[in-house]
């Protein structure tokens, strides 16, 4: 059993199991107001994975820290109104050191792990860079290793093994904020884990940056207690306590049932599960799963653990209302009628958006929001590969195969990367991904839920009414600051695409932000 650690939040002592994220520990201790928005509204964690910047607090004197990325440590001092700078300072000089390798893998989820394992088995010196505390990415990271599926356990174990060369080196809590492609590729790092190493110099790079959830604005989506589906999952894994809470799970895609099941297992009362896709569409997708029997079993198992909850297709969230600064009710609709369901937690998101910022920064071609790759996962930029969700959302099995191909080819083993077995698996999963995306594509009503007064940009509190659909995204950004907040449009950019059809703006370093000192 992990021991407990004690953290002070606004002077109040709370305890949490060691290894919990700060965000989860705070939510477990009923903290609902993490930060105050620029127009004075209370905000709390949403994405659970470092994307939304809503969980920012001051940690040991340093403001604006994402509590979902920070492990609790004994004696940590937290304030929920981040503003003035305290005593925090980066240790001098550390940021200028760099490390070299043959293959750098950015992202330590299934795709990144598979790439790293394959490349190192083929004899390459590999460094994996990841934002999280532990390997595994959004899907494996937070789970008790013993509770992971066998395949995942195997991969994680192999990450530590010697293959043809040394085992891959793991750089945790580090984020690539800038990349320069020359003869070598230089990745500049930020984050706690990057204290001892400011940059990685690599011959070749595999981008396995994953995806983030699509959040679509509706009235009340900024209320504390409204979470993304994967966000709820990550926060639960990080130790969030939901016992006795009433939860509504809504949105779209295959995360819906697992999240509802996880909430229910953790003691929440799941009141309603609302999938926006029409039943016929979802059923057609499920029928197509005959070639992936494991998926069918999974779905059946989730269904069984959800007895008691109402599950409806063709149903979606219209708005949410709060009491005392947190969500209290959700208004659901099926397009014909609307009704209200009381809740303490509302989990709602609409599938995934490939994380292509780094690829764009490096100059890789991106088509329809996905990094363009060939059969070997090579991007259009020499020496840069891409695997997993950035090339199209298709889930962990697809990520594992693509990562493997990319890792082998990046390490020079083109023959095995081209092997019929891998290529067949890759093609199969890609088709699966296409069907998945089609089946759960958000309907028009869901994409346009924002009313005039809905906040579209959570970082800068830009409301729908101040945006003119005839603008370009750059115009909107300059006139209203939309997409110019700390999340750099990772949340509102996709919302703008849904609402107005605006294409994403330019990508510039520092991607995801960094400290001033690291630019110097």
């Amino acid at each position: 059993m992990p021991r407990d650690v004690t953290v002070t939040v606004d002077g109040r002592r709370i305890s949490a199991p060691e290894g919990s994220t700060l965000a989860s520990a705070m939510l477990g201790a009923e903290v609902t107001h993490f930060r105050t928005s620029v127009t004075g509204a209370p905000r709390a964690p949403v994405c659970g994975m470092g994307v939304c910047f809503e969980c920012r607090v001051t940690v040991d004197g340093r403001p604006h820290q994402r509590s979902c990325l920070i492990p609790c440590t004994d004696g940590m001092r937290v304030e929920t109104s981040p503003n003035e700078i305290g005593a925090w300072a980066p240790p001098p000089d550390a940021v200028h050191e760099s490390r070299s390798c043959d293959v750098a893998v950015v992202g330590g989820g299934p795709a990144g792990i598979a790439a790293a394992v394959a490349a190192s088995a083929a004899g390459a010196r590999v460094i994996v860079i990841d934002q999280g505390m532990r390997p595994g990415g959004q899907i494996w990271r937070h789970r008790d290793p013993a509770a992971l599926p066998k395949a995942a356990r195997n991969w994680l174990a192999r990450l530590g093994e010697k293959g043809g060369g040394a085992p891959p080196e793991w750089l945790a809590r580090s984020t690539v904020f800038d990349a320069r492609v020359g003869e070598d590729i230089v990745l500049r790092l930020t984050g706690e884990g990057a204290r001892g190493c400011g940059a990685v110099r690599a011959r070749r790079v595999v981008l396995a940056t994953g995806a983030r959830e699509l959040l679509l604005p509706f009235d009340g989506w900024t209320l504390p207690g409204v979470l993304a589906l994967g966000g709820a999952q990550a926060l639960l894994k990080g130790g969030m306590v939901v016992r006795g809470k009433r939860a509504v799970v809504a949105g779209s895609g295959p995360l819906l049932l697992p999240v509802a099941a996880a909430l229910s297992r953790a003691g929440a009362r799941v009141m309603f599960v609302a999938e926006q896709a029409p039943i016929a569409q979802a059923a057609a997708f499920a029928a197509g799963l005959w070639s992936h029997p494991a998926k069918l079993w999974q779905a059946a198992a989730y269904g069984a653990s959800l007895r008691g909850a109402t599950v409806r297709f063709g149903t979606w969230v219209r708005s949410a209302e709060g009491d005392q600064g947190r969500v209290a009710r959700v208004r659901l609709t099926n397009g014909r009628r609307a009704w209200t369901v009381p809740c303490d937690l509302l989990c709602a998101s609409y599938g995934f958006v490939p994380a292509v910022e780094l690829a764009r920064l490096m100059g890789c071609d991106v088509e329809r929001g996905r990094v363009a790759v060939d059969a070997l996962q090579r991007t259009t930029v020499p020496n840069v590969w891409c695997a997993g969700e950035p090339t199209g959302v298709a889930g962990e099995a697809a990520a594992l195969v693509e990562g493997r191909i990319a890792g082998l080819d990046a390490a020079g083993d083109e023959a095995r990367a081209r092997s019929a077995r891998l290529q067949r698996a890759r093609d199969g999963w890609r088709r699966f991904g296409e069907r998945l995306t089609d089946a759960f594509r958000p309907r028009d009503e869901v994409r346009r839920l924002a009313s005039d007064s809905t906040v579209v940009c959570r970082c800068e509190d830009v409301r729908r009414e101040s945006l003119d659909p005839s603008w370009s995204v750059r115009q909107a950004k300059l006139y209203t600051r939309i997409t110019m907040g700390p999340c750099q449009g990772m949340v509102c950019g996709a919302a703008c695409t849904s609402l107005f059809g605006w294409s994403p703006g330019t990508v510039r370093p520092p991607v995801g932000g960094t400290e001033v000192a690291r630019l110097g």
């Binding site: 620029v38 340093r62 403001p63 604006h64 503003n83 003035e84 700078i85 925090w88 300072a89 980066p90 320069r180 603008w471 370009s472 750059r474 115009q475 300059l478 006139y479 209203t480 110019m484 907040g485 700390p486 750099q488 510039r508 370093p509 520092p510 932000g513 960094t514 400290e515 001033v516 000192a517 630019l519 110097g520």
Partner: protein, 399 residues
């Protein structure tokens, strides 16, 4: 009105004035001319405030590099101040003041000289000793010699200021056409190409070229070159500093047109964010972030304001200042082509000097006496590089 230009009914096929460019300068001209009851059309290849104006820091600052610069900046700053009450919140206007920081006794001498120049021109400023500076701006590094404080300087958010000027002008009857590019000038007319590729010719009593760094595309003789600058903006840290902090060495950096330079220049925004500048280099139109220049700029800034090092950066960007060889803008009639006026080349001061520029253009177009002596800004003046300034101008410089 002169030169036979006809200024007739409003919103006709032949407007009184066509302004090319809706940056801060063109926008300010549109507002000033609409206020003169002229029939104004303004075209922009992109949208209002999208050019250099989008990249600028928005420091409204009196500068005394030359007497002409001092005259235009102090006149213009006064005009902004008079508009302050009208500006909507989105323009983020604040009279923050500038604190010109002296690193050593020699620079403190320069601060004294600067104060004398300001006093002679009626610009309020006061010398601040080391202890007082530490009290005013405790985040500055210890050991500085002192500063010159100029309380009347301001800050605003340039893209929205341009947009506001345009909206005000439109309310007075001006017509704005965005995504409409001027492609050529010929005898009292300007040929424009609208978004769909449709071309048309607009003839007007006067054509004002306010196209910033692109002005030479329409008038190739104009000696304007893009001068690149980097800016960094942080997350919100309200109260870290109070006034816009600039090192006295900034003038040295801003001066001349060759070489690369960086200077400590940090601006507290109304949002609580900190805007970190500034750099200058000639790099053609390559807007890519230059790590070497950016790094030098950031180290300069953190050397004066150590706490900055720990702040989180949200964005970095670059922009181009429309620079001229002698550092002064080109404002007034273009004698080589009848019916054409120039309002361009404002280098790093166009946000500050837009209203003054507009007032000069408006006075000339309606035949009123100019509010300040326009001669130094005559676009046809013989240009000499700023580095061979006269002794009198040298005396004017702070460093």
């Amino acid at each position: 009105m002169t030169d036979g230009a006809r200024f007739g009914a409003r919103r006709t096929a032949r407007p009184d004035v066509v302004i090319v460019g809706a940056g801060i300068v063109g926008a300010a001209c549109a507002l000033a001319l609409a206020r003169e009851q002229l029939d104004v059309q303004i075209v922009d290849a992109s949208f209002a405030g999208s050019g250099s104006t989008a990249a600028a820091m928005g420091h409204l600052v009196v500068m005394d590099d030359t007497p002409a610069q001092l005259a235009l900046t102090s006149f213009s700053r006064g005009l902004w101040d008079r508009m302050a009450d009208e500006l909507p919140a989105g323009c983020e206007y604040e009279m923050r003041g500038t604190v010109w920081v002296a690193g050593n006794d020699e620079e403190m001498e320069a601060a004294r000289a600067k104060q004398a120049v300001y006093a002679a021109h009626g610009v309020a400023s006061s010398l601040v000793d080391a202890a007082e500076l530490a009290r005013m701006e405790p985040a500055l590094r210890p050991g500085l010699a002192g500063a010159l404080s100029v309380p009347g300087d301001g800050v605003l958010y340039p893209p929205n200021a341009a947009r506001w000027c345009i909206e005000r002008a439109v309310a007075l009857g001006a017509v704005v056409r965005e995504r409409c590019e001027a492609v050529a000038l010929s005898r009292g007319a300007v040929r424009v190409r609208a978004a769909g590729g449709v071309e048309e010719s607009i003839s007007a009593g006067a054509i004002v070229i306010a196209a910033g760094i692109d002005a030479p595309r329409l008038v190739p003789e104009l000696p304007i070159v893009p001068r690149k600058g980097h800016l960094v903006i942080t997350d919100r840290y309200p109260g870290l500093c109070h006034a816009q902090l600039v090192e006295l060495g900034y003038l040295r950096s801003a001066h001349g047109l060759s070489g690369e330079s960086v200077a400590f220049n940090v601006q507290p925004r109304a949002t609580g964010q900190l805007l970190i500048g500034s750099s200058r280099q000639l790099a053609g139109r390559d807007g890519a972030i230059d790590d070497v220049v950016l790094g030098a700029m950031v180290r300069r800034a953190t050397s004066f304001l150590p706490a900055l090092a720990r702040c989180d950066v949200v964005r970095v960007w670059t922009g181009f200042r429309p620079a001229t060889p002698d550092g002064l803008p080109l404002i007034g009639r273009w004698h080589a082509e009848p019916g054409v006026w120039i309002a361009a080349g404002h280098e790093g001061l166009g946000i500050t000097t837009a209203p003054g520029t507009a007032a000069l253009i408006a006075a000339d177009l309606v035949g009123r006496a100019p509010p300040i002596d326009p001669a130094p800004y005559d676009p046809g003046r013989p240009m000499r590089p700023a580095s061979d300034a006269t002794p009198e101008e040298h005396a004017c410089r702070a460093t």
